[in-house]
């Protein structure tokens, strides 16, 4: 297509957006609001998912060993655990190491541990990471059967719940997004319908002097795409600001929550929102062009 044709389209689109100011503004606001809500849901979902997988990758199952085992037996047993089906990693942690860790966790209050320093009450253990959360249960059963394993503990439930929550958020978010996007498409198609009617005369003349159908359609599609694109920008900006603010606060006050960094998520999320805006705008206008632009 000629450059001058694109110029013509852009000028016509601008004209039309201005003529239909109020409807255009309403459409842009709806696009912005829908994408904003969608963006927040997506942020929630990816972060919960991230938190769940981070926890999942931390130690899930700990097998405490019998105190009477020799160091060689400990090593032997760790090897055995490592070979169990569903086990990704098995690490031997001696009771001395366990005490060190405990001291680290107590930090400045390590004096409280002075009493146990002489006579370490902790046990040697094998820490196990499974391949998937579904492997936790069978692995626990297998560990219990091993001679030399005194006790098995695992923190499966919280992870399960997190994953369930992620799934729920994903579905609820998806449902809300579909509704919002449906409404947005409807509003944009309505706006374009109005411009089609406002420009009946022009369309008639265009047909008369031999404009092709696509030449007539393009400005309307462009108008819808513009509405979607313009609406996506405030959504991108607001979602970005909110997330940077949230991340900064979480990092400083709740540092143990493994939130994804803004740099990790915002780029892709922005692209997604802008893309969706364009798609929604194009779809909305395509519907009206199909229904009302009898070319």
């Amino acid at each position: 297509m000629r450059l001058s044709t694109w110029e013509f389209y852009l000028r016509e689109t601008g004209r039309s957006l201005m003529r239909n100011r109020l409807m255009s503004l309403a459409s842009i606001s709806t696009v912005a609001l829908s994408l904003l809500i969608l963006g927040l849901f997506l942020l929630g979902a990816v972060n919960l998912n991230h938190i769940a997988s981070t926890l999942e990758n931390q130690v899930e199952v700990t097998a405490y060993l019998d105190d009477k085992l020799s160091p060689a037996a400990n090593k032997e047993l760790t090897e055995q655990v490592r070979k169990l089906p569903g086990v990704r990693e098995a690490t031997f942690v001696s009771k001395e190491e366990a005490l060190e860790r405990l001291k680290e966790q107590f930090g400045e209050r390590r004096d409280l541990l002075a009493a146990v320093e002489k006579n370490n009450p902790l046990r040697n253990a094998v820490e196990v990471r499974t391949l998937t959360p579904q492997d936790v249960k069978p692995v626990v059963e297998e560990l219990k059967k091993l001679p030399g394993v005194a006790k098995v503990s695992f923190k499966e439930e919280i992870i399960e719940r997190l994953f369930a929550l992620t799934r729920a958020i994903r579905y609820v978010g998806l449902g809300i997004a579909v509704l919002l996007i449906g409404g947005t498409v409807f509003l944009i198609s309505n706006t374009i319908r109005l411009t089609v009617f406002a420009r009946r005369r022009e369309i008639g003349i265009m047909k008369l002097v031999g404009a092709t159908d696509w030449f007539i359609r393009w400005p309307f599609l462009l108008e819808g795409i513009c509405l979607g694109l313009i609406g996506s920008l405030p959504a991108v900006i607001l979602v970005g600001r909110f997330y940077r603010w949230l991340a900064a606060n979480v990092y400083s006050t709740l540092p143990f929550i493994p939130l994804l960094s803004p740099a990790q998520v915002l780029g892709r999320l922005s692209l997604l929102l802008v893309g969706l805006g364009i798609l929604v705008g194009g779809l909305g206008s395509a519907i009206s062009v199909r229904r009302f632009l009898r070319v």
Binding site: M1, R2, S4, T5, F8, R201, E202, G204, I205, M206, K207, L208, V209, G210, A211, T212, D213, F215, I216
Partner: protein, 228 residues
């Protein structure tokens, strides 16, 4: 150039607007289409423009069967035809020059050509000095000249006019008709549907008279009504 072969047009409600019309119009001819209201003149024009398709028969223009054009071919066919209406059909918020340029823009003419052709054709219709005016600032005759300029800017070999002087006073009508004659003199085939008895009688061109959708008279150098 234009040939109707047994053309019948029946509108959906069962009204027969044209009944078995056969005629030929040669390249470079000037033809008046006359007849009482409802005779089928506008239908004749709309069929030629391919706004309607014949119920029966064929319309052949330049060897092309117009009724059988595929939808995608219609725009390119229409570029060969300039069209003028009684109500001018200008875009009110655009200037005269923009209204004329519009016809070139939508067929994606190069910018250079638009810049060259628009003043040229405005000059031809005598409106070179009004190119920046809006249609509302012009008289009826001037508005029709703009419409004529728009119809001609594409250099179409055929010009159709459906009651081009229907909204104009006799003097202005005569000016417009003289312009149509001048355009015809430069080689364009011109078909004018009209009720302007005086002008038809004065110009003595080919007259095709319709009545109830039938050709009742086809005369070289004819008058508005049959001579006694």
């Amino acid at each position: 150039m234009i040939e109707f072969r047994g053309v019948t047009k029946i509108y959906p409600k069962g009204i027969t607007a044209l009944a078995n019309v056969s005629l030929k119009i040669n390249k470079g001819e000037f033809v008046f289409l006359v007849g009482p209201s409802g005779a089928g003149k506008s239908t004749f024009v709309r069929l030629l423009l391919r706004e309607e398709r014949p119920t029966q028969g064929q319309i052949v223009v330049d060897g092309v069967d117009v009724g059988r054009l595929r939808p995608a071919e219609v725009p390119f066919y229409r570029r060969k035809i300039g069209m003028v209406f009684q109500d001018f059909r200008l875009l009110p918020e655009r200037t005269v020059a923009e209204n004329v340029a519009f016809a070139l823009r939508v067929v994606e003419a190069p910018r250079r050509e638009i810049l060259r052709r628009v003043p040229q054709v405005l000059h031809l219709v005598g409106l070179g000095h009004k190119s920046r005016a809006k249609p509302a600032e012009l008289s009826g005759g001037e508005q029709q000249r703009v419409a004529l300029a728009r119809a001609l800017v594409n250099n179409p070999p055929i010009l159709l006019a459906d009651e081009p002087t229907g909204n104009l006073d006799p003097d202005t009508s005569w000016e417009i008709m003289k312009l149509l004659i001048e355009i015809n003199r430069r080689g364009t085939t011109v078909v004018v549907a009209t009720h302007a008895r005086d002008i038809v009688d004065r110009l003595r061109r080919r007259v095709i008279a319709l009545e109830n959708g039938r050709v009742v008279r086809d005369e070289e150098k004819g008058g508005y009504t049959r001579e006694a």
